[in-house]
Amino acid sequence: MKVRREQKIARIKKQKGKKGTPVEAMPSPELGHKLIPKLRYTDTGFAQVEWDKMWKKVWLLGCREDDIPNPGDHYVTEIGNESILIVRQKNKTIKAFYNVCAHRGNRIVHALHEPQLESSNFRCRYHSWEYGIDGKFTDIPDLETFPQGAPDCGGLISMPCDSWGSFVWFSMNKDVEPLRDYLGIIPNHLDPYHFDRMVLTRQVTVEWDCNWKASVDAFNESYHVQGIHPQLLYYLDDLDIQIDCYEKHNRYLIAFGVLSPRVVSPSEIPPPIKHVMREAGMDPASYEGSVYNIRADVQKHKRVHGATQGKDYSSLNDDQLTDDYHYTIFPNVTMNVHADDLMLFRQRPHPDNPNKMLFDYFMYELPDNDFDWETYKKPIHKKFKHGETSLGLVINQDAYNLPFVQKGMNSNGYEGLWLGNQELRIRHFHKTLEDYLEK
């Protein structure tokens, strides 16, 4: 049945205390209505320009601070053809290096996406060149056989590295602005969630058959909920959404625990909304109110009972206790931010094929009093091809569809993205991308 009920989501108008997440709606930016050329998604030449002018200029998510707590702990991440070695220093600061030996170009550390424990130094397994954790040469075997001496670089090539929000960031641009400047409003908006209190519960990388931007786009609009995720029509309001675009980054605020205006209320509480209630510690069977009051009642319930469950919501406003505060940190970090968890996606370009990408999925959860620290083990990072693992129904639905989008974009019969107002974040994302390409 085609329904379109009138529905206005009640939203908090005032932020929670001075340090709370700002809630005011931003004026809609004037970004025009032009078609976004499909070449950005399909063309190898464009991908190269994108690499040179954007990927090599921005700040990128590397790992989590608690991946490398002690001096010598290190972590290798990859972006495009680059491998980045992130190392905790003796003075507790963090350095990032190109993971490449200055001698013949071998990768120094071969492990990938798994925290490695304390090293006192790094030794290239090819000819045993050695580097300290600060990246400086500590040993070059048979140095006397190099008439020209050791390479002038003095060791591994470092790059800007800093941390925010429990995450470590790096940039291949040695002249990049400070991380805080780059992140702009992000720390101010997201610090109230205290990501540092959340623990990693799943991490997976899946190779998807689409351009990395097709994936970013899919999470930047909810217009596709009715088509791809119809079950979410009984879980969220996909129409009354607050979209806010900032300098480089953007967000939208989606009310959870409500019915979409595209459906009518069944006589029973829909199972996905029951799930919201149960997660908050409420019994749906005992609920006497109307389905339209559940979101507000869950907020009240969590506000009252959060502390006894061991969850500190004191910096969050009531909407944040139910809703999705959804942020995209340019270029490739998608954050589904909730009071009790952070579902983070990092979208990485395939090193040499614009029709492929690497989808990194990370789930962080806020431990409650029942959390079993004794048996908790940081999950091992696993890598899959498309279709080999489940990322939950919603992401599976996106993952199923995206290869078809990519195929379609390669068609002679398609010119580019024809975007509506519900897709404003995609337009804003492309504006930021254009700004980099034009520099």
Binding site: P230, L233, V263, E268, P270, P284, A285
Partner: protein
């Protein structure tokens, strides 16, 4: 066949939407006087207005929370008084399914079972005064075959079938017939199967194919069975459970 419903007084609980509402509509079309209820006064008033448009008889109603025994009994007595007696009673209201907690069992017991028992006990004296009557309970195919999950809804609805049979034996002498109707999956806009169709199309399609007649039922089709069993057309039928499911269930009813 004339169902002889003109001028008959019918009480239906939970009758502003869904199957209950279609039952009320059909009785109204057949010329009966109909009393309806639901918890919300707005829905009752709206439904009375809408049903009256197709009615020859009197359409009345008032809000009532079936859970509250006194409120429920006085709804029955008020309606009986206003219509001048009770000929037909359809205890239709249900707490629905769910496996959230033990509370589901209490709710199905309170609404589905006690909501029927208390209603029956309150209407029988009115029917005795008129020398007979007809009661049709609403059960479900989930009571006669395993369905979805072991939930209280299925078990409590099953209790109604047994209760109806016993009542039919106990009150037959007084000219009171008691039957039950067990609908299978029923589709209507805004109903549970509408939600399933939207959110899990595959399961919906599979369910549809399971029906011998190849589709889900409509609430009107259930209403027809209920109205027939209530009417003098079914004067020789009592103590049966009529499965109205388009061949969804597969058992043989000996």
């Amino acid at each position: 066949m004339d169902l002889n419903l003109r001028g008959k007084n019918v009480l239906i609980t939970g009758s502003t939407q869904g199957i209950g509402r279609r039952i009320a509509n059909l009785f109204a079309e057949e010329g009966a006087n109909v009393a309806i209820c639901s918890r919300s006064p707005e829905s009752v008033n709206k439904a009375i207005k809408e049903i009256s448009l197709m009615a020859d008889g009197k359409i009345i109603g008032s809000p009532c929370n079936i859970k509250n025994k006194e409120e429920y009994e006085s709804w029955i007595n008020d309606m009986a008084e206003e219509l001048g007696g009770v000929d037909i009673f359809i205890p239709n209201v249900s707490a629905g399914g769910g496996m959230d907690s033990e509370k589901n069992w209490w709710k199905n017991f309170e609404i589905d079972v006690l909501g029927t028992v208390r209603g029956v006990e309150a209407v029988i004296p009115h029917m005795e005064l008129r020398g007979g009557g007809s009661i049709v309970m609403i059960s479900t195919t989930a009571a006669v075959e395993t369905f979805m999950a072991p939930q209280s809804y299925n078990a409590m609805k099953a209790a109604l079938i047994t209760y109806a049979k016993q009542l039919s034996q106990a009150h037959g002498e007084k000219g009171i017939r008691v039957n039950s109707v067990s609908p299978g999956p029923i589709y209507f806009d805004g109903g549970a199967w509408d939600m399933i169709k939207i959110s899990n199309e595959r399961f919906y399609d599979k369910t549809e194919k399971t029906h011998a007649l190849g589709r889900l039922g409509t609430p009107e089709e259930v209403a027809k069975a209920v109205v027939f069993l209530s009417s003098s057309g079914a004067s020789w039928i009592t103590g049966v459970n009529l499965v109205v499911d388009g061949g969804y269930t597969k058992r043989v009813q000996f």
